[in-house]
Structures are given as C-alpha cells and as structure tokens.
C-alpha cells in the first residue's frame, strides 16, 4: 500500500474502501475440490466409454446370446474359448505379425534417423518420410492389396528383376500372407518412429557429441555409445505406443487378407469382430474381449506406466 501514497490519489480506486477494508474469504472446501472439479468431466466421459463397456462385456460373456435372447451359461464361453484353436492361433498371429513388424520398424527407423539427423536437408527428408503415415490406413491397405494380390505388380517387378519365374500367390502361403501385412504396416508406420527418433537425436546436447568427437569417437561409435543410451526412454515410449496399435491391428486384416489362408493372418481384433459381427455369437466374442482386456491391463500396468514415467524424466 505504500505505493498508493506515492502514485497519488487517482490510484485509490484500485484498492477500494481503504480505511476499513475487508479481505474476501473464500470457501476452503472449494479450493480443495477445485482440481477434482476440473478433471471430473473428462474422467466421467472416459468412464462412460470404458467402464460401462467393460462391465457389459463381462456380463455378456457369461451368456449365450442369440439376438435378443440371453441364456445364462456361466463360464462355458471361457472354457470353449480356451479350448478353441482359432483363438490361440489369432493370439499367436497377433504376436508374430506384430513382433516382426515392430522390430523391423524400430530397426529401420533407427537406421534412417541415424543417417538423416545430421543431414543439411533434414527438413526435406522429414516431409518425404512422413508421407506414408498421412494416408488413411484403409487406403494404405488397398494400395498393398492391389500391389500384392489383385494387380500383381510386385510379382511382376520381381519377375522382371529375375528373382522369381512365376506369379506368387501371396495369400496361398502362411508366411507370404503374413508378409503382406507386415510390409503394409512397416511402410506406413516406420515414419511414426522415425519422426520421434529424429527429434530425440536433434534434441540431444551438441556439446556432448563434440566432446566425444574430440575424444576420437566416430559417428557410429557416438551413436552406439552415447545417443542410443540417451534415447532409451524415448525409444521405450515410442515402441510402447506403436506396440499398442500393432497389437490391435484390424484394418489391414479386414481389407487385405480377411484372415486367409485358413485363419493364419487373423489377429485377435479381427477374431473378435468375426465372431461377434459375422457369426453373431456375441457372448463368445465378449469372452474373448474380456481376455484381451485383462491382457491389456497387465501390459499397461507393467510396461506402459514404466515407459511413461521414464519418458518424463
């Protein structure tokens, strides 16, 4: 208030009622509740869209559902599910296809970002490498479906290059069929990891690099011994995010292979979709959903939480 007397009378209005002023007292409870109030709408919305379906799926999984007719069957759906070879195949496919694709994407993205991040035209490279990621996944699935299967372009190119003699039936063999899914995923999503890795490499302290160079380290050594360890939390977060999407792969399977040949490219997402919306066996599909939900929760607790904690630091 000393300022007031210095700056003259005109300012008095800034502090109204000077002689017997009263400071406003506000509800302490409101102050404590305020952060909860801010976060409540978002949490309520998410609960509606996750908790309700979760509970619904658990209940429905205990019934045999035929249209509007629900018949209680206890744990029968689960017993059937665990004895169902198609279910285990789908689970196995998801891990195989996802694992191979994720490994490839990670290695390629690291390799390319290693060569790109010091390049003077990095901005241009980034834009070019981004392109595949920005196509709708459903469109990308069609690009590759046409290239591999319907248009036979890839077979034709391989014949011209002399690698093979005849057209390849991509959907006739288990691994070739899986390969088409892997190629489509690698093509579209390696950029995702690349963008993140390049940003991490560009963001690292240049002085550390320079010091290492003075110590006689080459670029490859710097990358291996300094950049890579520093990037570990970033890689963890990026791989976790990509891993989640890959393990729930649906669009490409739906459009490209529909699970052929013989269910060997069917992922767990497609399995649930097929049981639920093609065979209309909702109770059974819900049982599979619940199993997948439990796996998700375990993975989220064990891996995701840790990855994001380390990513923050």
């Amino acid at each position: 208030m000393t300022d007031t007397s210095m700056s003259g009378t005109g300012v008095a209005s800034a502090s109204p009622g000077m002689p017997d002023r009263h400071f406003k007292r506000r509800s302490k409870r409101l102050r404590v509740m305020f952060p909860y109030l801010l976060v409540t709408p978002a949490v309520a919305f998410l609960l509606m869209i996750t908790l309700y379906p979760g509970a619904y799926a658990i209940i429905q999984s205990l019934f045999y559902v035929k249209f509007a007719n629900w018949q209680f069957v206890g744990t029968e759906n689960y017993r059937d599910l665990f004895g169902d070879r198609e279910f285990w195949t789908a689970l196995w496919n998801t891990f195989v296809i996802g694992g191979v694709a994720l490994t490839l994407e990670c290695v390629l993205a690291l390799l390319i970002s290693f060569y790109a991040y010091r390049d003077p035209w990095i901005k241009g490279w980034r834009i070019i490498f981004l392109v595949p990621m920005l196509f709708m996944p459903s469109a990308v699935a069609f690009i590759w479906k046409l290239a591999f299967m319907d248009g036979r372009v890839i077979s034709d190119l391989l014949i011209r290059l002399g690698f093979i003699d005849n057209n390849i039936g991509w959907t006739s063999s288990i691994w070739l069929s899986r390969l088409t899914l892997i190629v489509a995923d690698v093509w579209q999503w390696t950029p995702f990891l690349f963008i993140i890795f390049v940003a991490a490499l560009q963001g690292q302290d240049e002085e550390v690099e320079e010091a290492a160079r003075l110590d006689g380290a080459g670029w490859a050594q710097i990358f291996w011994n300094i950049s890579l360890p520093m990037m570990r939390p970033v890689i963890a977060v990026a791989v976790v995010l990509r891993g989640i999407d890959i393990m729930t792969m649906f669009t490409n399977v739906y459009i490209m292979t529909q699970g052929t040949p013989g269910g060997t490219t069917e992922t767990i997402s497609y399995f649930i979709y097929r049981i639920g919306f093609k065979s209309f066996n909702f109770g059974y599909a819900s049982a599979a959903s619940v199993v997948m939900l439990i796996m998700t929760l375990i993975i989220a607790q064990l891996i995701v939480k840790r990855a994001f904690k380390s990513g923050k630091e």
């Binding site: 007397s5 700056s7 800034a14 502090s15 400071f23 406003k24």
Partner: protein, 155 residues
C-alpha cells in the same frame, strides 16, 4: 493500514525446513530488506506474505487482520518475481493493465493509471508505444522488461 506482522512463521516440506520461526513487525510505509545466503528462506517468506505459499505454522497479519486463509488474489499484495513473470501473450501495455482488469477498476481510468505507473518506473513512453509482445522467459530479454514488471505492481 499496511502494517505487516509475521508471528512465529514456519514452513516445512516434509522433513525439510524452509522457514523456521520468523517474527517480524513491519510498520506502514516502512522499507524492509531481507538479506541472506541462497536457500535461507527469503523468497519463501515473501511468498507466504503474498499468499502463494501457506505457512505450516504461525500467523500472518496485515493491518491487524489474520491473512492465513485469504487467497493470494484477494490480498492485494504486489510482488516482483525473479524471472519478471511477464505474460508472454500480452504487450507491455497489457501487462501493466492486467491487475487493473482483474481488480475491476473502471475501464475509463485504465489508460491514465498505466501511463502513470510507466512514468513512475521511468520507462515512459516506450511501454505505451511498443505493441510487441513480451517474449517468454527463455527468449531475449529487453532492457525495459524488469521495469515493466515493476510498473505492473505500482497501483
């Protein structure tokens, strides 16, 4: 009126002492300087007076009234921050005007008050004319930033 009393003020974060048993009596229009090595609690004490930090124990009184439960925004205290804390999305003029808007001073008086505050810290016309935004803390610092920050507190 603006007589400030700190009675047995303490601040503790867990087992760490921030401020330990401070008793000061500052009378109206008195000019007080806190001196001390870093980490001795100067800033924390000031933040407690301004209401940005709740004391763990003790009482803060202004003009005889207990201030502990009063929000910082209602205390009508002025504080110049170490990093200036200019709002980077506003021009210097808007920065100085901000407290007037928050305290619902009639709009008609704003211009006069802002100009007077600017004069008071001797940055005169520059703040009024210069429409440029205040850069964020990490950006380049301009000579008049400290002063604009002080001007904001001159009401």
């Amino acid at each position: 009126m603006a007589q400030i009393e700190l009675v047995g003020i303490q601040k503790k974060w867990g087992a760490v002492w921030g401020v330990r048993d401070v008793n000061i009596d500052i009378s109206d229009e008195e000019f007080i300087v806190f001196l001390g090595p870093s980490g001795c609690g100067k800033t924390t004490t000031m933040r407690m007076i301004a209401g940005l930090e709740d004391p763990s124990e003790g009482e803060i009184r202004v003009g005889g009234e207990r201030m502990n439960d009063i929000d910082a925004r209602d205390r009508d205290a002025a504080m110049v921050f170490q990093g200036y804390a200019l709002y980077p999305n506003m021009s210097i003029y808007e920065n100085i005007r901000f407290p007037l808007r928050m305290r619902k001073v009639p709009k008609a008086e704003h211009d006069t008050l802002v100009r007077r505050a600017a004069d008071l810290v001797e940055m005169g016309i520059i703040s009024i004319v210069n429409p440029q935004l205040c850069p964020a803390v990490s950006d380049k610092e301009l000579p008049w930033h400290g002063r604009s920050c002080a001007a904001r507190k001159c009401f």
